[in-house]
């Protein structure tokens, strides 16, 4: 108890940082669920691929920590762009390969879920075996910095040095903490506006509320589905870079746990609800931190999933309840 009280500010800030990442990844689950009532189990791998894209950009550019600020910003923006592009691309590929045919055939959701689980394992293993893939292509040596130790942790050298900005309650809040929390909130606001104001966004809401009625309005459902995967993927790519800036390593199978946590955040906030995703992420991040401070950090994941079970038992519609479709402007 006293540990929780003594470190309250630190636990809160790092909980929010973690929650921001969960929230951004949760968006992908929530958007796809809202439109298709389908859990895109492979979304975790969309995030994982984005994290590697970000790492590879920094490896390719070889910028050492402590470079001049414009260079640091440039590298981070390139890494962000690469992560968002790769994650968005993997998400689109997933839609094409793992789902499209099943959706057209109106297959049972369980079939689509199984297909997604298969795609998730395939993508994770593909990353874990990337040295072999490079070998087959005869590029093992050329690509060495990108594919070596494929089954170990892969480090991200953050070109931005972590610096304290201000102190409260014995904890020094860092520039990275601020960047992560503020970016997550800004991206959530941008997405919210996209869904409310743009034509594609209104199409997404319409399909989520009543997909047949949406078709009667002239909404191209397949286009909306693709847009949903793409937007969710882009958010996951951004989350991947933010995650790396704080936690510094990724791994071929790192998507699994993070994905389940992000899914928990989505359910917590009310699956299908865009604003709920970020709220759910923050609540989960804080609960994990406070919980592990109270009973020990080895209980962190237990706390997270206990929270999921409790929510499902007592408030299955999540904190904000309403779905993507129902959300009022």
């Amino acid at each position: 108890m006293s540990f929780l009280i003594d470190n309250f500010v630190e636990l809160t800030v790092t909980g929010l940082v973690l929650g921001a990442v969960y929230g951004l990844v949760a968006l992908g689950y929530t958007l796809v669920y809202g439109v298709l009532q389908l859990i895109n189990f492979a979304h975790s791998e969309v995030w994982m691929f984005g994290s590697f894209a970000a790492v590879w950009v920094t490896v390719a550019l070889g910028v050492a920590p402590g470079s001049a600020l414009p260079i640091v910003i440039g590298v981070l923006l390139l890494a962000l762009l690469a992560a968002m592009t790769v994650s968005g691309g993997v998400a689109l590929l997933l839609e094409r390969v793992a789902y499209r045919r099943l959706i057209r055939l109106d297959a049972p959701k369980l079939v689509a879920l199984i297909s997604a689980i298969g795609a998730s394992f395939a993508l994770a293993e593909l990353m874990g075996l990337r040295d072999r893939v490079a070998g087959w292509l005869g590029l093992r040596d050329t690509l060495d910095p990108y594919v070596r130790s494929a089954r170990d942790n892969t480090r991200f050298r953050n070109p931005l040095e972590t610096e304290g900005v201000f102190s409260v309650g014995g904890y020094t809040v860092t520039n990275v903490d601020i960047i992560i929390i503020v970016s997550a909130i800004l991206m959530m606001v941008a997405l919210d506006q996209f869904i409310r104001r743009t034509r594609t966004g209104r199409g997404i809401r319409a399909v989520a509320q009543d997909s047949e009625a949406a078709a009667l309005m002239g909404v191209n459902r397949n286009r909306v589905i693709r847009a949903t995967f793409l937007v969710g993927g882009i958010m996951a790519g951004a989350a991947a870079l933010l995650y790396l800036m704080r936690f510094g390593v990724t791994r071929w199978n790192a998507g699994f746990l993070l994905g389940v946590k992000a899914f928990t955040a989505a359910v917590l906030g009310g699956i299908g609800n865009v604003r709920g995703a970020l709220l759910g992420g923050f609540v989960l991040g804080l609960a994990e931190n406070y919980g592990s401070a109270l009973i020990g950090s080895e209980w962190r994941d237990v706390v997270a999933f206990l929270l999921l079970v409790v929510i499902l038992l007592f408030r299955p519609t999540g904190l904000l309840g309403e779905s993507l479709g129902r959300a009022r402007a």
Binding site: R202, Q209, D210, E212, L216, M217, G218, S323, G325, A329
Partner: protein, 238 residues
């Protein structure tokens, strides 16, 4: 002919919901499709909007074969529908629902205020409820919204599926007079109804569907005066 349907067959799995139906709709007319529950009226309209797959037969709209065209491509051609059960977007406001009706129109921004004005002119009630969530409105108001939303795409052919269902008699009168007004403004209407008496009164021509097949055809007046039709669909007297 604006719409020509020939030998249309639609199945749900092995159930034949409509079998070999042939009918047409002339530009500027009101045509009604009446029949008991389960006769295949809704299936017919859904198929015309592209929501159901055609097993056999063809649909031509303005001379163009649209039998297998995707539903979202039919709206810009001029086919619009107010579906059975209204199917308004419950979480959107009245205005947002109407904006969804104009989704398919490239020049929707330019004509938006005139279009909204036209719908509010037909349904003043909707103007009062402009910013209310559509899901919280009464059945009658939702029906008005569904029709107004369908008009926002500037349809050449308006498909109406049971617009009077579940409404109080006074409201039913109002809806039917508005349907006439919409026709007078130049929109062709294909009206599906269980309320046969009212439908036959305003229809130029009518088709009677029974278990997926067209069993009678005539002008609205002819069918309304026919004894067997009166016995089966009009409860004896009109």
């Amino acid at each position: 002919m604006l719409l020509e349907v020939e030998g249309l067959c639609v199945n749900y799995g092995r159930i034949e919901a409509i079998r070999d139906i042939t009918f047409s709709v002339e530009q500027g007319s009101v045509v009604t499709l009446i029949g008991a529950n389960g006769a295949g009226k809704t299936t017919t309209l859904k198929t015309l909007s592209g929501l159901r797959k055609v097993r056999a037969g063809s649909v031509r709209f303005q001379g163009r074969d649209v039998t297998h065209m995707a539903s979202h491509e039919r709206v810009p051609l001029g086919i619009s529908q107010s579906p059975e059960g209204r199917r308004i977007f419950p979480g959107m406001s009245v205005v947002e629902n109407l904006d969804m009706g104009a989704y398919a129109r490239a020049d929707r921004a330019k004509t938006r205020s005139a279009d909204l004005e036209r719908v509010f002119g037909l349904f003043p009630r909707l103007l009062e409820r402009r910013d209310q969530a559509a899901g919280t409105m009464s059945g009658g108001e939702q029906q008005m919204l569904a029709i107004g939303r369908a008009l926002m795409s500037h349809p050449t052919l308006l498909l109406l599926d049971e617009p009077s269902m579940g409404l109080a008699p006074k409201l039913i009168q109002q809806i039917f007079s508005i349907i006439k007004e919409i026709r007078e403004q130049g929109t062709t209407i294909l009206l599906v109804e269980q309320n046969a008496a009212q439908a036959l009164k305003i229809a130029d021509s009518a088709y009677i569907l029974e278990t997926g097949e067209i069993v009678r055809t005539g002008t609205g007046r002819e069918l309304a005066a026919d004894d067997s039709v009166r016995a089966a669909y009009l409860g004896g007297d009109v």
